[in-house]
Symmetry: D2
Subunit: 242 residues, 4 copies
C-alpha cells in the first residue's frame, strides 16, 4: 500500500559473467542487470550491488535504502563476509524483503534464516522444467498461467532440506523424473522471504517473461509494511493493567 516506488537492490556474485564466455553470452551485462532491467521497467527503483565491491556493495547506507533485496550467488558463498551477512539478517528481521534466487539456496544468509542445510539434488542436462502454480490465489502468482515451461534448465530435485514453507506457491516438474518446491514463502522477524528456484547461469532463464513476472510480484509481496519495531525485554509491572 506504499505510494512511493519500492526500492530494490539486486545483489550478484558476479563471477561467472566475468570468467565464462557461455555465461557472458547469455548475460552480457551480468545477471544483476538482467534482473534489474525488467524491475525498472515495472516501475521499481532499482540499484545493483556485487560481491567484488567494498563490503560487497551492501553498506549500512545501501541497506537502509533497500526495501527488497534480491540475492544471486553460487560459487563464492563462503567468501561473503560474516559481518555483511549479520547486517543483512538484521535488516530482514527489521522488515526488509529478501528474494534468494536459484543457487542462493546455499547462501549464508538463506541458510541462517532457514536453520537447515538447504541441500538438494541437481543435474545440468539442459532439460525441461515445467513450473506449476499451486497457490493460484497468492499475490506472487498474480497473472501467471497454470504452468509455464523453461527449457533448457538445470534440475533441482527433492529432498530440498528447508523448513516447510509458510506458503508453497510453485512446484516444478522435471523431465528426468524429479519434483521440487520452487516457490517458497517465509517470514522471519518482520521480513518476508521468497525463495525462487529457476536461474542457472548458462541458460537464459531471467529473460523469460513469466520468470520476470514472478520476481516482480514477489517484490510487491515482500516489501515492508508500515510497522513499528517490535518491543522486547522487561515488560510493564503486574499492577499496571489499565
Amino acid at each position: 500500500m506504499s505510494v512511493n516506488p519500492i526500492r530494490v537492490t539486486v545483489w550478484n556474485e558476479n563471477l561467472h559473467e566475468r570468467t565464462q564466455a557461455v555465461v557472458q553470452a547469455v548475460y552480457p551485462d551480468g545477471i544483476h542487470e538482467a534482473l534489474a532491467t525488467p524491475l525498472r521497467a515495472a516501475g521499481f527503483t532499482v540499484r545493483t550491488a556485487t560481491q567484488d565491491q567494498p563490503e560487497h556493495g551492501l553498506t549500512e547506507d545501501v541497506l537502509a535504502e533497500t526495501d527488497v533485496l534480491l540475492w544471486w550467488g553460487h560459487r563464492l558463498h563462503h567468501q561473503v563476509d560474516d559481518a555483511v551477512v549479520d547486517r543483512v539478517q538484521a535488516r530482514v528481521w527489521a522488515g526488509m524483503g529478501l528474494i534468494p534466487l536459484h543457487s542462493s539456496h546455499f547462501s549464508k544468509i538463506f541458510n541462517r534464516l532457514m536453520g537447515t542445510t538447504c541441500n538438494l539434488k541437481h543435474r545440468v542436462a539442459g532439460e525441461r522444467e515445467r513450473i506449476w502454480t499451486i497457490a493460484r490465489g497468492h499475490p506472487i502468482a498474480e497473472g501467471l498461467p497454470e504452468y509455464f515451461d523453461l527449457k533448457p534448465e538445470e534440475m533441482y530435485g527433492e529432498p530440498f532440506d528447508i523448513p516447510a514453507p509458510d506458503e508453497l506457491v510453485f512446484v516444478s516438474w522435471f523431465q528426468g523424473g524429479e519434483v521440487f518446491r520452487s516457490g517458497c514463502c517465509y517470514t522471519r522477524g518482520l521480513g518476508r522471504i521468497f525463495y525462487f528456484r529457476p536461474g542457472h547461469e548458462t541458460y537464459p532463464t531471467y529473460h523469460d517473461a513469466n520468470v520476470q513476472r514472478v520476481i516482480a510480484n514477489a517484490v510487491h509481496w515482500a516489501a515492508p509494511r508500515d510497522v513499528a519495531p517490535l518491543r522486547f525485554g522487561r515488560s510493564a509491572p503486574l499492577e499496571t493493567l489499565d
Copy 2:
C-alpha cells in the same frame, strides 16, 4: 495491485438493531452502516445488503460486482437460504474475499468453508479484551500497535473449533482468563477469508479506530487477484508434452 477501487459489500443480519433499544443506541443506522462508513472514508466502493431483503440482498448481480464481502450474522443463521449460501460459496471459490465478523463464526457460509463446527466458549460480562498482534509483518497488521484494548467486549474463548489458520494474525486476552485466536486467515479455492472476532452488538466495537483499521487492511488483503479460472477435468493426452 488493482487500480480501481475495491468493491465491498457489507452484509448484515440487521435484526438486533431493529428490535433492541440498546443496540439501536450503539448502531442507530445498523451495524452494516457502522462498518460501511469508515470503509467509504478509506476509499473503497461500498454497498450494503441485509438479510431481510429479497435474496438477502445477495443477488447474482450484486455478488458479481463484489470483490470483498463482509458478513455479520447472529440469531438468524438458520434462516439464510441455502441457495444464497451456495452462490456466495461459489463466488469465494472463484476469488471473492470474505470477512466473517464475530458471531458469524456460526454462519452457514463460514461453517461450510471451514468444515468444522466453529464452536467456541462465550460470556457477555462487559470485560476487557486485549488484542495482541502476533504476526506484525502481515499486511492485515499494518499500522496496528502491538496490542489494543476493547472494553467492554463479549468474551470468546478457546477451544475455537476451526482448522488451524494458514496465518494467525491476532490472539485475544480476556480479563476472565481466556485466550482466543481472533484474526485467522484462510484460502479456499481462489478466495481469501479473514475471520475477525470483535463485535458484540451491544458494544461500540465497530466505532473503534483500531478495529476499523484491521477491517480495512483485511479488505486489501482479501481482494481478488488477476487470475484466470482454474481448469479441471480431463487433461491433455499423454503424448502431447511439447
Copy 3:
C-alpha cells in the same frame, strides 16, 4: 500410544469390482479386501463396509467401534446418504481418523471437511507416477524410500482445489508433465485426515508394498488420542477466576 489394536473400518463403493471384468481381475475380492488384508497382517483390527449395505454399512455401532475409517468411492458419491455423511463427519470431529483414497477426493465427506471443490485434472493413460517423499521426518513417511514408482497409474494433476495441507508428505511426478500433492494431512475438530492419491481401480496399486506401508503408517498417525470432548458454550462467570 494405545495398547489395544487400532480398529480400522475399510469402506468401499464396491461397484466396479462387480461390474467390470478388468477390475475384478485386479481386485477379485474387492478393493476393500485388498486394503484390509495388509492392514490385518500389520496387526490392526479390521472390518469392511460397502455402499450397498444397509446404511452403507456405517451404522452408529460400527462407527462407535472405528478408530480410523478408510474411504474409497468413485461413481456413486451422489448416492451416499446425507444422514450417513453427517454421522461420519460428527465422528471425525470427535476424533476418528479418516483416510480418503484416490477418487474419494470427490466424496461428500471429504468435500464437506475441506470446504472446497476438491476438483483436479486427470488422465487414464497407464503412465508412470513417481511419488516423492517431501516430509521424510513425518510419521506417515516412516520406512519409505525417497521415492517410489507406480506404473501404470492414472494421472491426477494440479490444480488440486484443496486447502493448503497442514503437512504435505508426498508430491507425485507424472510422465505426461504434471505434478500433484499426493499425501495431505489435515485436522478437523479432533479428527485427523490423510488424503492419499494412488489407487485407480483398473491398476494393481493397492498390491504395492510401498502403498501399503503408507496406508498402515497413516492409520497409526490418524488414530484418535486420549482426549476428553471439547467443551463449548456459556463459560464460567467473570468473577470465578481462581
Copy 4:
C-alpha cells in the same frame, strides 16, 4: 512405533541450582534431575548432561545414543561452545528430537534452528499463567485438560520473535494482560523440535503433573523415525529414468 525405550538426554546449564539458595530449595538435585525423574518413571531411558562437564556432557558418543534432547539454559548461553552447538545441530538435522525449555528460547541451538532472534517480553512477578490447549487432537496434548494453571510463574509475552510454528499446541494467558505461544512444533531436517515455555528456576514448575505430561508426550512426538539419511548432490543422468 519403536519397541525399545526412547533414549532421552536432559541437558542443563546447572548454574542457578549451585549459586542461589532459592533455586536449590526448589530443585535440590538440579533442574535436570527434576526433569529426568518423571521421564524415568514414564519408562524412558534417561541420562543427564550439564554445561560444566567436558564438552558440556554432549560428546559424539552421548549424542549418538540420544533420541531426544531436552535443553534448559539461561545465563550462560554465550559460553556454550560453538563446536558443541554444531554437533547438536547436525544431530537434529539427522533426526534427533530437541525440546528447548523456557529461557532456552535464547540458546544458541534454538536460535540457529529458528533463524530469528527468539526475543520476547518477560516479567518475574509470581503471577498466574493459564495454559490453554489449542490443538486438542495433537499427540503432545494427549491426556491434558482444556487448560491448566501455574502459579507462580514468570511471564513471557508476545511479540515472540519466532517463525510461525508448524503446529501451535498451547497458548498461555497471563494475569498481567499478556498472551504467549507456549507450545510450538517445528521440523528442521529430519528432526522435530518442540519449544515449551514454562519453567522459571525459582518456581516449582517442573514438579507440576501437567507440565510433566506435556514433556513426556513431547518426547514421544519428537523421537526419530526409521528413516534413511537424505541423499543430496549430483543426481542420476537424465536418460536413466527407468
